[in-house]
């Protein structure tokens, strides 16, 4: 019982942390390199415990992120829902990929996410973004193995401390 609660707390804490990381700015010239943290963390949980991540959760996280962002309510909700759907669909295969293939898959997912964002913004009447717009998915894919390993390690440690 206690173990379950700790795990749920850890799950919620990582998701909240991802929202914080999204809000924390990087120093000026590094700004385009910032990865899309909520997506990375949500993907990790998708692969690690797929029964806990549902489309509804992705939607709620996205709406929360939109509230913090304050740009367009529903934008990130749509993006995260679409991404989680694809990830859950291919979860069984993605889990057994070697790390570099997983990174490539994450790159694909993040690029798809950027295309969605581009579509939404163009529909909303914004101009096309500059080329730096496409750097962030690459950074996300490069960071993916580290995110995965660190979160996995932390999870294993928590479980050990718990028992």
């Amino acid at each position: 019982m206690n173990k379950l609660r700790v795990r749920q707390l850890w799950f919620a804490a990582t998701l909240l942390l991802s929202l914080f990381l999204m809000l924390i700015p990087l120093p000026g010239p590094l700004t385009p390199f910032k990865p899309y943290w909520p997506a990375l963390i949500l993907l990790y949980w998708c692969l690690q415990s797929g029964d806990r991540v549902t489309l509804g959760l992705a939607f709620c996280l996205g709406v929360g992120a939109d509230l913090f962002d304050g740009v367009l309510l529903g934008e990130q909700a749509l993006r995260l829902t679409a991404m989680v759907f694809i990830a859950l669909r291919f979860r069984s295969r993605l889990r057994f990929f070697p790390m570099w293939q997983q990174s490539l898959a994450v790159l694909g997912l993040l690029l798809n996410d950027r295309v969605l964002l581009l579509l939404i913004r163009v529909f909303a009447g914004d101009p096309l973004p500059p080329p730096e717009y496409w750097i962030s998915p690459l950074v996300g894919a490069v960071l993916w193995p580290f995110v995965f390993l660190i979160l996995d390690d932390l999870r294993a440690r928590l479980r050990i401390h718990d028992t």
Binding site: I24, L73, G74, F85
Partner: protein
Amino acid sequence: MALNRDDQSPLFAPGVAGTLRLIVYLALACVLMVLDHRGGWLGNVRYGLSIVVEPIYRIAGLPSQGFQAATVAFADRQRLTETNQRLREDLLLANAKLNRMASVAEQNQRLKELLDTQHSLSLNVQLARLIGVDLGTFRHRIVLNVGARDKVQAGQVVIDARGVMGQIVEVMPTTSVAMLITDPNHAIPVTIERTGLRTVAYGSRGGDMLVLPNIPVSADVQSGDKLVTSGLGGRFPPGFPVGEIRDVAQTASGTFLSAQARPAADLDRSEDVLLLHDLAEQDGPPPLAPNAGPPAGMAPDPNAPPTAPVTPTLPKVTSPTTTPVPARAASSTETSPAGTTP
């Protein structure tokens, strides 16, 4: 065990229920977006949820604040003394300029009083600090630490020591969001200081420059020209520096000149900004002057009975004022013992 868990996401079978749910959620998100884009009620929702959002902004702003504190704490002495020296020189220069301007301003004020105009050179400003929060990719917005409780309103102009930074677009109880002038969705009416040509400066795609896409081909525009706000449009008051033109080229169609300008304000380095309180004059006719004509005491009472003009007004005015006073005093003496007895 693992196989049992995988029942929920089988290797190849497409889940119809999952797709259906996806469609429902996507539709919901689209509805939200359209409603928000059309109605713009995200601001209201955010205002309601600001109890949650604002502390999170403050916490998320802590790292950048700490970073700045650390740079100050670990900056070597020499750099600090250099900065101090530079600031002193700036202050000296600014004060000297101010002293020279003071007499001119006074003269200007007197002349304007002679001309009976309402413009004034004094600034009514409010200091605000930036909160270091990133509001999404390629969104040129900043968060300030003042809000509706500090009487901030949407549309107020944000400036720093060098020029116009942007305007407030969203107000929450203790924080507010400002759109920078380099946002692609932002436009600011400007005048080229040297020639007086009026045009509009838009934000650029890259987000660090301003674009002036429609200058007439015959216009005299050079790189190095200063841009100041023109005051047209009723949002930005006139005369504030906006930027400096960097290069001028013909547009692809050849019908206009297009110029690039660098913003005058330190958009990515300013920590303290000023909010202007006087909004520019609104469009349309000015409101009626409130105290035109004789003072209100001398005006006849519109509620007075029609017989009033016949009889002399002086005793009539005094008699109603004298009668309520004893009545009120009597009532107060009645109530005060009642209040003390229980």
